[in-house]
């Protein structure tokens, strides 16, 4: 057992490189900047590309171009940058361009507080694009998650050809932590599935039962069309409403139907407990401290730590909550994800323990919420 000391942002950069990412573009913004610094150190010596865009719009635009050329791409920002990513995010969703986007969240709204943490973008990441189609959002808890969930994020982006967010937080990204790199379990590396390279490509064509179109990069022999406009299988604008409806449904279903395969979570279940604590992100660390303390106090509770937030892992939540009378949802915001918990568990008592003032939610505060209904 020998540890290394890494901050979350460095772990994300190293995870990206391990996943095969060789293109990064970003614009400096606290608390995400050190991801860019790390990528700038890591990529060029590997023959990779790291660029600083003139703004966030350019940064994500560079990434979409490079992704269409076949590279695994990543960008990183914080809330104000996510706002500027929005139009290109819709492009990546609707036109199925794989990209990993890191949001090292800081206290909002707006420019907010650059060096204070929050989980205030959780619903924004899901809903902050035109068209309202789903995205994948993974939420790391610690430095180890920063590494492994980044690998998972790339795998999901490649498999489903969609944007995948890592919803980090200043308190994870800029916090250093010991990590035993030898013990980190890493998933196998997934590549986007290639279309045959000896016949014309229907860039958005799928076989019956297939949910995600095969990919060929722009620049090879077979011509590739990419468009942000409403398109048919051939990548040209279409007004065929039946074809449009089929495509929109596919874009939704390709993620919703597969959510059980990537519902990352940790469930600490104790039989006959009345209360289930649900937490994600850095707050899950305080929640886990409370889980342990309650056990010591002889007042055990159960704990569900969600690491996939979107699409909502409904089965995981329902199963974890099956025997609980009461759910306490912990969030570093004024109550965002709790809406999903209430929607999924209408028959349960769902209470909120939240705070959005730039400070971590303390175990004491969670304990108070657990003890007092």
């Amino acid at each position: 057992m020998a540890y290394s000391l890494l901050e979350g942002n460095e772990a994300i950069a190293r995870g990206a490189v391990a996943a095969g990412c060789r293109f990064f573009a970003g614009y400096p913004i606290t608390p995400a900047t050190t991801i860019y610094h790390n990528m700038l150190n890591l990529l060029p010596p590997l023959g990779g590309i790291c660029l600083q865009g003139e703004d966030e719009i350019a940064s994500i635009g560079f990434c979409l171009g490079a992704s269409m050329a076949g590279m695994k791409v990543m960008t990183a920002t914080s809330g104000p940058g996510i706002s500027l990513y929005s139009e290109n995010l819709s492009f990546a969703i609707g036109s199925e361009i794989p990209i990993v986007i890191v949001d090292v969240q800081r206290l909002g709204p707006s420019t907010g507080s650059a060096t204070r943490g929050a989980d205030g973008d959780i619903n924004f990441l899901r809903w902050g694009s035109s068209g309202g189609l789903p995205v994948i959002v993974l939420a790391p808890v610690d430095v180890q998650d920063c590494f492994t969930l980044t690998l998972q994020a790339f795998n999901l982006a490649e498999e489903f050809r969609c944007p995948v967010f890592l919803a980090s937080n200043k308190e994870i990204g800029m916090t250093r932590e010991s990590i035993d790199l030898q013990k980190v379990a890493t998933p196998g590396i997934v590549e986007r599935s290639a279309a045959p390279s000896n016949q014309p490509l229907l860039p958005f064509g799928v076989d019956p039962g297939q949910q995600v179109p095969n990919f060929l990069p722009i620049g090879n022999k077979v011509l590739v069309r990419q468009t942000s406009s409403t398109h048919g299988a051939d990548g040209y604008i279409t007004t065929d409403s039946a074809a449009i409806a089929r495509n929109q449904e596919r874009l939704e279903n390709k993620l919703l139907s597969a959510i059980n395969r990537f519902s990352f979570h940790e469930h600490y279940s104790i039989k006959h407990t009345d209360t289930l604590l649900i937490a994600y992100g850095v707050s899950a660390r305080a929640a886990k401290a409370v889980f342990k303390a309650q056990k010591r106090r002889g007042k055990p509770i159960s704990l569900l730590v969600l690491k996939t937030l979107w699409p909502v892992p409904e089965n995981v939540i329902q199963q974890a909550a099956r025997d609980a009378r009461r759910i306490v949802v912990v969030e570093m915001n004024l109550g965002q994800y709790i809406r999903e918990i209430k929607r999924i568990l209408p028959q349960k008592q769902v209470d909120f323990c939240g705070q959005m003032d730039g400070r971590l939610i303390t175990p004491a505060r969670i304990t108070e919420a657990v003890d007092h209904e």
């Binding site: 000391l5 150190n41 060029p44 010596p45 865009g53 719009i57 308190e171 620049g219 990419q226």
Partner: protein, 434 residues
């Protein structure tokens, strides 16, 4: 070579639109160069110029208004061998102004064709960045208020090495486009044309009028000698190849035993410029040399070299969950700003806890033991105070030992920085002024 025009999707432009002439000239340029479709990607954005990618049998990427240059940059960096042609209207030029300036400064080998017809055609003839103030358009009197932009002048100032202004009716347009594509660097063509669907409904504009207007402007005919320099992609690859590979994170083998068993919590309360964060990192590394798990949570303002700087450090043989500190074992009071930010902390401290109080810093009343240190008297400079406080801790056998600290310094620093830090620690532990 054969035409690369897409026979199945002929141009769907208004009769008399200059875009159609440009389409055929672009095709002619491709033919003259002997290019196959797969050697080209046409990147377009929104508006009538955004239809161009559908007219050709080439690779295509059509995206959001004004952003075509950004996609093009990603494509070209990833695939340097392909010819990247960007089509954009005067609308895209306006909304994508920042990208256009950056493309001029960057000098990546892209060819930008600005199809300049002085208005937003597709949305109903609103004024654009190039609309003459006297034009009658869909945006009413507003177009009279803004001055049209000479994009060629701007591009030259911004560093574009190739700028050409011409008429879409020019006989040698195909040759001129070819010249721009063949230029190894960012090449911009401002191609003036007529929008019969919108602009000439209420405004008179003829090919002759365009020629007359162009004749009155300074000539922009391609290479801008003062801006000629290495192409961005080649330059990038040259510099990138010289970068040293980054090593894997240091793996720190446990070799010592920490002076205290169990979880230890330390807060460094200082201010910017005292290298508080680096000291915190060193304390963590020292912890790792004793096989402890560690976390370092930092707090500081966004200002540089001003304001409080606080580092919360936990060393524990068990898993560390919550990274904040409520009741620290040790508080190091390095600066008043840090202490004042966390005044509430002191009343929670127990009699077993320790405060390292640097002379000149006032701390609130608490039950904790206080150890005074006069770093000024020892001749330690302010930027070294945080590191010096670690030496104090080591000397007191609190949290870390001198051996743990020395090992951490050897892991974290090299050459001169290492020598200086070892010397400083010795100075503090022996109590001898430098």
């Amino acid at each position: 070579m054969n035409s690369l025009l897409n026979a199945a999707r002929p141009p769907v432009l208004c009769p008399g639109c200059t875009h159609e002439r440009i389409t055929h000239s672009l095709d002619q340029a491709f033919q003259n160069m002997g290019l196959a479709g797969h050697q080209i990607v046409i990147v377009s954005d929104i508006g009538c110029s955004g239809l161009f990618d559908t007219f050709f049998h080439t690779h295509a990427m059509h995206g959001l208004h004004g952003r075509a240059l950004t996609y093009a940059a990603g494509l070209k960096m990833a695939r340097p061998e392909i010819n990247v042609i960007v089509t954009m209207g005067d609308g895209g030029q306006g909304i994508g102004g920042a990208h256009l300036l950056a493309a001029c400064r960057r000098n990546l080998d892209l060819t930008l064709l600005i199809l300049n017809n002085f208005n937003f055609g597709m949305t109903g003839g609103q004024f654009s960045a190039t609309t003459p103030p006297e034009a009658q358009l869909g945006s009413g009197f507003l177009s009279a208020l803004e001055r049209p932009l000479d994009i060629c002048k701007v591009a030259r100032c911004a560093g574009a090495p190739y700028v050409r202004r011409c008429s879409g009716f020019q006989k040698n347009l195909a040759e001129q486009i070819q010249d721009a594509i063949e230029y190894e660097g960012f090449a911009l063509m401002d191609i003036w044309g007529i929008c019969p669907g919108r602009y000439t409904k209420k405004n008179r504009l003829t090919p002759k009028m365009i020629d007359d207007a162009l004749a009155k402007l300074p000539t922009m005919d391609g290479v801008v000698s003062e801006n000629v320099r290495p192409e961005y992609g080649q330059h990038y690859r040259q510099l990138a190849a010289a970068q040293k590979k980054v090593s894997a994170p240091a793996v720190i083998e446990p070799q010592f035993t920490a002076p205290q068993t169990g979880r230890q919590e330390v807060i460094l309360l200082g201010s910017a410029g005292q290298r508080v964060i680096t000291a915190g990192e060193l304390l963590c590394i020292a912890g790792l040399t004793a096989g402890m798990k560690t976390t370092q949570k930092n707090e500081y303002n966004i200002t540089v070299l001003r304001g409080p700087s606080i580092s919360e450090l936990i060393l524990s043989p068990q898993e560390i969950n919550y990274t904040g500190i409520e009741t620290p074992n040790v508080v190091v009071a390095l600066d008043q700003e840090g202490v004042d930010r966390r005044r509430g902390l002191f009343e929670r401290m127990t009699p077993k806890a320790l405060i390292i109080q640097i002379s000149g810093v006032n701390v609130p009343t608490s039950k904790a033991r206080i150890h005074h240190v006069d770093l000024r008297a020892l001749g330690v400079k302010r930027p070294d105070w945080a590191l010096a406080s670690l030496a104090v801790l080591a000397k007191l056998q609190q949290i870390i030992t001198p051996q743990m600290l020395e090992a951490a310094l050897k892991i974290r620093f090299k050459s001169n920085a290492l020598d200086a830090s070892l010397k400083l620690v010795k100075q503090v532990t022996t109590g001898k002024a430098a």
